[in-house]
């Protein structure tokens, strides 16, 4: 079976549990098991090749540019790990079928489990290290789901998050390390990297690469000081613990160290870091394990200790130590999985895992007792079980490394014996109790079958190591060390009396004594102050979260004034910085003479602007001041020979001021005082900086001799665009598309205002509006007769003016935009004079529709040119004579301008109508004029001025 398929099978299979659960829990478990079994069989099909020392490969191109490819390879090391993952995985699936409670969603469990299994298989089969990283992070994610499976338990959630945080951190470090490693080797393929030992170890980047990779491996494999997450992951259901902490997740770090052993090991740094961390972890874990009352807690720290042991062996950097590490990986997986399952059985049946509440179970649960005892003795390193063999070899290596290693290893072994014996004696021996939370008894066969099979292996490997695993260990060790010849070693129970045996005997004897003294030691341990990793971790994460939260809120305090101050300051600093970073030569264009008119103009612009800074709190006054500035600006345009702009500016000014005036009705007369003097000073400095900066920039720009494409428009306006008014031809022809965009902006603004007001009226804001209007001072006569009459008279005139401005647009100042505004002002005044309802009643065209038709007209004009084989918005013009008029020009741009006209008119009127609607809502009781000449009497009744009634 292809390696890719083996890795993919669990992922594909992850879809099955959800589907099969409908057919029952057995079907669900069977389907899951079948997937794993299939993958396992696929793996075993490669066994002969692997034992021959061949490397099986499967390669698929994925992302060659990055060097990320779906390349898999299988050698001894990969085979061993994949075998453990799938083999023990299969046993776990069987075990979990009987372990999970009825209320537990089994499909989720198996789905997560298969995802995790796939990720693990992926890690050990990956040839490409980027692919390996993907699987690596996937194990973090899927284990997060598994550990948090019992989501109602706080321990589960916290444990899951802690595991994700710690292993996630390691994973990210590993990304860095692997990328560096790949860069040194020039390839992200392991098979290539493994051949580049020289290059890697001599590279300057060896140290950072090593540190980052080890951070990844240590966090995953719970090496000191990152060991603390593992015990908290025990909140997961026991099958998960048994799987993650015996054969898989935590072994991933070991796998990585073993995989990269040929290229990374052998340096002093490697030795001190890896062997050192391993040594500390091994001893520390063993000591703590003795004082854990939770069965799974004990096993968790025991796991930490054994992982330390293997890490230490890998760290030693000798080939023989690597062999021992390989051997112990197999042994540890078998007995530890069995022990976790035993603990699960006890928990499941007695409803407690607290050793202090257990004891005497050997009579009540004989089968469990036998299984647990054999596995625990193996963990203790007692003969004739497999744990003894690898422990002896480990002690041998430690004894030959240094005295420190010898002493520490003996201490670790001693505590191993003590906690293993405690597992057996405090749980199964002692008097039978009558206060178990539930009546314990052996579970059904389904639940003890899996651990039973494992202890059979424990015994068989212990008794016949060479037959059982001899060739496997050799093959794997060759793969780890990447050598063809291994140094001499012997897998056997008896090696004669040597240092290791003596250390073992000391350990067993002392361990037994420790267990006898356990009560007293335990009291001392509990009394002794010791750092509680979870509390530190929680406090740290909590503090960081609070700090981040405080910082984020501080930075984003929601104050618009501050945001804008930062914006302006940043712009000034960066733009000024850019300007002063390079050469500048002032332009040579002569200055214009200063005329009286220009002085007056500048004063009229500057005085209101400065006044605005001081008087802006009064909204009405601000509006007047802004109106003045706008007006002077229009005059300025006219003065600088831009009558079109002047007209536009003027009409825009009028419309906006009127609309703003109407809007002011809904706002308080004054803005609240918010700024402190300090802040005002700050804003003044920033504002002055920005203003002076812009002034300086404009000065610099205007002193340049103009050299631009403007000449083209002057030359081609009449011949190409058919108009004398260059500005208008630019607007509707040369850059007609800009205008098209701008009328759309106007149209959107109109309908957005409509949508906003509609939402406002429905919401609480509408209610506030009605409340507020009661306090407003109202004028005596809402619709003064004079105004009504005047506006009525103006309306037709304004419309004629609008038409005139529109028509002359192409050759003289004017055009659709201005015409639209002029007509809008005229209609607007009808609203002001006679009120919304009066005006609405006479309005036959919906403004939404007017906007839509306007945009569509403009678009249609543009599209029309397609039919003449020209691009969008290509204009054309010709001369027509309709008697009795003289010959006049007709340009297609005029149709476009109609669109502009309609959109402008529609948008302005829609905005106005909405404001009026709000006004009516704010004062719903106001009388409505039905006739133009109606006047409101003092009593609020309406009296018609024309019909004397």
């Amino acid at each position: 079976m292809s390696l890719a398929l083996i890795a993919a099978l669990p992922f594909l299979g992850a879809l099955l549990p959800g589907l099969m659960l409908r057919a029952g829990r057995n079907a669900c478990a069977t389907a899951t098991g079948a997937v794993t079994l299939l993958a396992l069989l696929g793996l075993l099909s490669h066994l002969p090749a692997v034992l021959r020392g061949e490397v099986v490969q499967a390669r698929f191109e994925w992302l060659p540019m990055l060097g990320l490819n779906a390349n898999f390879f299988l050698d001894g090391l990969g085979f061993m790990f994949a075998g453990l993952i799938l083999g023990i995985g299969l046993l776990i699936i069987i075990y979990a079928r009987f372990y999970l409670y009825k209320s537990d969603p089994m499909d989720q469990f198996y789905t997560y489990l298969l995802l995790f299994q796939g990720a693990m298989v992926g890690i050990v089969l990956s040839d490409n290290i980027l692919l390996l990283l993907i699987f690596w992070e996937l194990t973090s994610l899927s284990s997060f789901l598994l550990i948090g499976y019992w989501k109602h338990l706080p321990e589960g959630r916290q444990g899951a998050r802690m595991a994700l945080t710690v292993t996630g951190m390691g994973g990210l470090a590993l990304i860095g390390g692997m990328l560096i490693l790949g860069n040194i080797a020039g390839s992200y393929d392991l098979t290539v990297i493994l051949e580049n030992r020289e290059a890697i170890q001599q590279s300057d980047l060896y140290v950072p690469a090593l540190l980052l990779i080890l951070l990844g491996a240590f966090t995953k494999s719970a090496q000191f000081p990152f060991h603390f997450w593992l015990p908290h992951a025990m909140a997961a259901p026991t099958p998960v613990s048994a799987y993650l902490h015996s054969a898989t997740m935590v072994k991933a770090g070991l796998f990585l160290m073993a995989r990269l052993w040929p290229v990374l090991s052998g340096t002093d740094l490697w030795f001190y870091l890896v062997a050192g961390a391993g040594l500390i972890t091994m001893t520390l874990g063993a000591v703590i394990a003795l004082f854990k009352d939770d069965l799974k807690g004990l096993l968790a720290f025991s796991t930490v200790s054994h992982l330390g042991l293997i890490t230490m062996l890998l760290g030693m950097g000798t080939e023989i130590a690597a062999v021992v590490a390989v051997f112990h990986i197999i042994n540890h997986a078998t007995f530890k999985a069995a022990l976790f399952m035993t603990a699960g059985i006890v928990d499941h049946e007695a409803k407690t895992r607290d050793i202090k509440r257990l004891g005497g179970l050997r009579f009540l649960m004989p089968v469990t007792f036998v299984i647990g005892t054999i596995a625990a003795f193996s963990m203790a390193g007692l003969p004739p079980f497999n744990g003894f063999l690898s422990k002896e070899m480990m002690l041998h290596e430690a004894a030959h490394t240094s005295t420190l290693f010898m002493v520490m290893a003996t201490i670790a072994a001693t505590f191993s014996v003590a906690y293993s014996l405690r597992f057996v004696f405090h749980v199964f021996f002692g008097p039978k109790r009558d206060d178990y939370p539930a009546k314990p008894h052996d579970p059904g066969f389904g639940m003890w079958a899996a651990p039973a099979l494992l202890v059979v292996l424990v015994v068989l490997i212990g008794l016949f190591p060479k037959t059982m695993v001899g060739s496997l260990v050799a093959t794997v060790s060759k793969a780890v060390t990447q050598t063809d010849e291994l140094p001499y070693y012997s897998l056997a129970l008896w090696h004669g009396v040597n240092a290791a045996l003596i250390m073992s005997i000391i350990a067993v004897a002392t361990g037994a004594v420790l267990l006898l003294l356990h009560k007293g030691l335990d009291r001392a341990w509990i009394a002794a102050p010791r750092p509680e990793a979870k509390e530190i971790f929680d406090a740290l994460i909590g503090a960081i979260t609070r700090f981040f939260s405080w910082f984020t809120d501080l930075l984003h305090d929601g104050a618009m004034s501050r945001y804008l101050a930062i914006f302006t300051a940043a712009c000034v600093v960066i733009v000024a910085g850019a300007f002063f970073s390079a050469d500048y030569l002032q332009g040579t264009r002569p200055m214009l003479p200063i005329t009286n008119a220009s002085i007056i103009g500048f004063v009229l612009i500057m005085v209101p602007t400065i006044a605005l800074a001081f008087l802006h709190r009064n909204r009405y006054l601000s509006l007047v001041l802004m109106g003045v500035v706008g007006l002077i600006l229009s005059v300025g345009f006219a003065y600088l020979s831009a009558p079109d702009l002047a007209l536009t500016q003027l009409s825009v000014e009028v419309v906006t001021v009127i609309l703003l005036l109407l809007a002011l009705y809904f706002l308080p007369k004054e803005t609240p005082k918010e700024s402190s003097p300090a802040r005002r000073t700050r804003d003044a400095v920033i504002g002055a900086g920005a203003g002076l900066g812009i002034g300086a920039l404009m000065y610099a720009l205007l002193r340049r001799e103009p050299d631009n494409i403007g000449w083209y428009f002057l030359e081609n306006s009449y011949t190409g665009g058919g108009g004398n008014n260059v500005v208008n031809v630019i607007l509707v022809d040369f850059r007609g598309f800009d205008t098209f965009g701008e009328i759309i902006v106007l149209g959107i603004a109109g309908i957005s205002i409509f949508a906003m007001v509609a939402a406002l009226m429905r919401s609480a804001g509408g209610k506030r509006l009605r409340e507020m209007a009661k306090d407003q001072v109202k004028i005596g006569d809402r619709h003064p007769l004079m105004m009504v009459v005047a506006t009525r008279a103006v309306l037709p005139i304004a419309i004629v003016v609008g038409a005139f401005i529109f028509l002359r647009g192409h050759s003289e100042p004017g055009g659709g935009f201005i015409a639209g505004l002029v007509v809008a002002v005229a209609v607007l005044m009808q609203y002001m004079a006679s009120g919304l309802e009066w005006a609405q009643a006479r309005q036959r065209v919906a403004y939404h529709g007017m906007i839509a038709v306007g945009i569509l007209t403009a678009a249609a004009t543009g599209i029309a040119s397609w039919f003449f084989g020209y691009p969008f918005l290509k204009s054309t013009f010709g001369y027509v004579t309709i008697p009795p008029l003289s010959k006049f020009e007709l340009a297609s741009a005029m149709a476009f301008d109609v669109g502009v006209f309609l959109t402008v008119l529609g948008a302005v009127m829609l905005a106005l109508a909405e404001l009026s609607r709000m006004g009516v809502a704010a004062d719903p009781d106001q009388p409505v004029n039905t006739d133009p000449m109606d006047i409101v009497t003092d009593g609020g009744a309406i009296r018609s001025a024309t019909k004397d009634s």
């Binding site: 990055l66 992070e137 706080p154 914006f567 390079a582 812009i694 083209y712 906003m756 804001g765 529709g849």
Partner: protein, 501 residues
Amino acid sequence: MTHFMVLPLIITAVMAPTLLLVRGQLVIQRTLSVATTALLVVICAMLMAQAATGEVTVYKMGNWDAPFGIVMVMDRLSALMITLTALLALGVLIYSIGTKWDERGAHFHPLYQFQLFGLFGAMMTGDIFNLFVFFEVLLIASYGLMVHGGGRLRTRAGVQYIIYNLAGSTLFVFSLATIYAVFGTLNMADMAAKAATLPPEDAALVRTAGAMVLLVFAVKGALLPLHFWLPNTYTHAPAPVAALFAIMTKVGAYAILRVFTLIFGPSLALTGTLFSDLLMPAALITTVIGMVGVMAGGSLARVASFAAVGSMGTLFIAIAPFTEGATVAALYYLIHSTLAAGALFLVIDMVQARRGTCALDLRAPIAQSGLVAALFFAAAIATTGLPPLSGFIGKLFVLDALRDHALAVWVWGVVLVTSLVAVVGFSQAGSIVFWKAHAVKADSTPAAPATGVALAGVGGLLALIVLMTIVAGPLTDYLTDTAAQLYAPEGYIGAVLGAEE
């Protein structure tokens, strides 16, 4: 000249007012809206296929030659951007209809098409003033969408959004004045041609112009310290609109990529590495601030908003060096983060709809908890850049492309550490909403809102993320060509100005 190229613009410009005419007839509006957007996906994809050949297509509006008239230009980058926009828009639109978001206020569908018009225009135009016009179109349309449905917080956030962006627009006008005074033209290709001929004493003004447009685009791209409009806007905008906004920030990124490869390119002696040097520190800080905000929590929407800031930072990290390799990484990450942010906001809306709030407080489990949790998990994985989704590949790309950069250590450190911060932030948020909830007894399980159509929208976006992970190889081939085209702007300039000869 074929008109096919401008169809995305014409179709949206015609469809938006048409939808306005049929206001009040929701069924017709929905049908037209979806059909149009689906059609746009097809057209954009065809344009992308055409651009993939390396051909730069130019469309002269009003038949005026560049640089005098306005041109639309379709190269690989533009085609990619509009296709991405159309895809995101379709998913979000379907979701909005499925959840009846479009009924909650007036004119959703016309505004939506107007928004697309603005986006397409900004991504296609070859004229910098026209770019300004389209910035206005998409700003005003997005404002209309942003306050869709109303509400106190939303309206307030909307005001801040528009004021801040109008400040940006003002700066844009100043920069256009500078550009026209210095370059004497507004056509980008023409500017590029002129830039090479400007004398050294113009360097200061050229740099000023560049810095100003960089700031303008940085506002759109939410780059620190000009990002302040984003968190509140995204948090309080209607979720589908926030999802669509995922592409809005990318317009800023697109504009920077376009203008700072074409006009102020890395080979322009007058500006040197100034813009790269400005951009990189800002990008690094943006990433940090964004991810810090993710961990700060508050509500799911706020978490997602800051994640959007953070991802923009990462994107700008990849843009900043202005090298071909890094740009490939940037483009891949750009596509990814657009889809991921879109999906994330939609999933958060599903939470909000079932829970009444997306604040990170303790409430009973929501209806369809498992389904929504799974979607959230997927979207969070994508957003934080964990495998197996494209975010991880994107980050690998960025790290790999910047390994020789002067600030490589900083880049690696920031990208990796902030990823962890984001992972912690998302796991905390998700744990409260989806796990801790199970500790609370519900009085009664609230009914689940209709899901079928809405789910298709979310699922579609997530499926695209999966797809871009699987076909990463062919996709990066296109992106590699795109980057190559960007850094050899002669083709673009020739296609635009060639008509003169």
